[in-house]
């Protein structure tokens, strides 16, 4: 046995086993061959290791095809379930504080303000039942860049496909979709959104639905204000974020008793059901309820939605000095 081996045999043992079992570099092969030429016991040992290796490789058994197929089918079904529930997320700092974005295979499912929190545990995503939250990769980094560009006014649309499944109800989803249709640089009122979805008396329900907007910024609930012209509320109690987002979009605001008010006289106006936008001074436009008026920060914002200048007040000939 090993203890009775000649030192030179012991020294070569590792290389001998490696060579015999096909695990080798050429330098040690030469050493082994030279040793084998002079050592009969090691030659026998070498042959036995070769046989061992062949038998060992013979252990490459194939489990029955049915067992593999059945396991694969089980896996596919569990993967399909997981895929449905999976949300890849990324948390990053922004001028609006820490933000979490989550994307499922259907699209962006969640945008969340984390304030100063930086972990999944601090997030709403970490508490949604049934969701499998996983750390996102390069794709999420791209989305982060897009969102930061958007927040800082370097891009005006996000063009993301959205996953609406975190909307709290069908009604909420309807509200969110109507809100998503409010263009960049424009503001509408909660009452206005209620009218757009055919539920003019559901103003409070609309406000509630937006309060639980799972996709802030992307579904621009910051563009929805009170009929008084006040911003009224945002992301819990963070009016500052709303003010900042609107200002970036060119919307004119004035401070008003711990809130901000839209500077209606500095914005173009579109009456309900109309296709021509007006100066705030056109006819009764300045006094119409905001439930029936959408305001635009600039002519470009209005015209990018296919609206044309009013042929009476001619905003094209007499643009607002304070608006771009």
């Amino acid at each position: 046995m090993t203890t009775t081996k000649h030192p030179s045999c012991r020294a070569i043992e590792l290389d001998l086993v490696a060579t015999a079992t096909g695990d080798v570099e050429s330098r040690s092969t030469d050493l082994v061959q030279r040793h084998l030429a002079t050592c009969e016991p090691c030659r026998e040992e070498f042959d036995r290791y070769r046989a061992v290796d062949h038998v060992a490789r013979g252990l490459r058994t194939a489990p029955s095809a049915e067992a593999v197929a059945s396991s694969r089918a089980g896996l596919e079904s569990r993967l399909a379930d997981l895929r449905q529930r999976r949300v890849a997320y990324r948390i990053f700092p922004s001028p609006l504080g820490q933000i979490l974005i989550g994307r499922s295979e259907h699209g962006i499912a969640l945008v969340e303000y984390l304030g100063t929190g930086t972990s999944l545990r601090a997030s709403r995503l970490g508490r949604v039942e049934g969701v499998e939250a996983v750390a996102g990769g390069p794709e999420l980094e791209r989305l982060e860049r897009d969102l930061l560009d958007y927040i800082q006014g370097r891009r005006r649309d996000l063009d993301w496909s959205l996953d609406w499944r975190l909307a709290s109800s069908d009604f909420a989803r309807t509200v969110l979709e109507a809100t998503a249709a409010i263009p960049y640089g424009a503001v509408a009122s909660y009452a206005g959104v209620a009218r757009r979805i055919g539920r003019p008396s559901a103003v409070r329900a609309v406000a509630q639905a937006l309060r639980w907007n799972p996709l802030p910024i992307v579904v621009p609930c910051h563009r929805v204000i009170g009929t008084s012209g006040r911003l009224t509320g945002y992301a819990g109690n963070q009016l500052g974020l709303k003010q900042r987002l609107l200002t970036t979009e060119g919307v004119k605001l004035r401070p008003a008793q711990r809130d901000f008010s839209i500077a209606r006289d500095a914005m173009y106006a579109l009456g309900e059901g109309e296709t021509q936008y007006c100066l705030p001074t056109c006819g009764d436009m300045g006094t119409r309820s905001l439930a029936r008026v959408t305001l635009f920060a600039s002519r470009a914002d209005a015209e990018s939605r296919g609206l044309t200048p009013c042929t009476d007040c001619r905003p094209d000939l007499n643009p607002l000095v304070s608006a771009a």
Partner: protein, 175 residues
Amino acid sequence: MGLRPFETVVAAHHAEIYRYLARVTSRSGDADDLSQETFLRAYRAWESLNEDANVRAWLFAIATNLARNYFRSESRRRRAYAGISERRSDVDPASPEEARRFHETRTLVEAVVDGLPLKQRLAFVLRKLHDLEYDAIARSLQCSPDSARAHVFQALKKIRLGLNGHELPTMESVR
């Protein structure tokens, strides 16, 4: 996404990972669970995997990790030893006498392999039955490539010793 779809990873590697786990656990029911868990874990981490990662070695590392956790339970370990059974092989010995000898030898080798310390057994199976590079084995076992090599060497030595006094099949009898 820069990475290829995960479905192609399942298609390319599931059978092999299943085979590996069936070998190291000696129980196909456990291989079923463990191989599924391997891919579910891989799926969760798929998006954050480097695009140039060696996917096969990565899957083996996940599977090995799961297998090691699995064996931390001593009762399971004993069950695995008891689970040695006849297995079909794709190696066809030449004559009936050689076939018998080959069969006997393989049963003996299997018994030794299944009785090896876990790291040696995993290293041996990864190297000899799945041809993994020592770097990848080292990553799977969270050790250095030299240690991985040493584990395989020790395993071969023990198998060789386990066959002392046993007549081995001739080299010509195995393809």
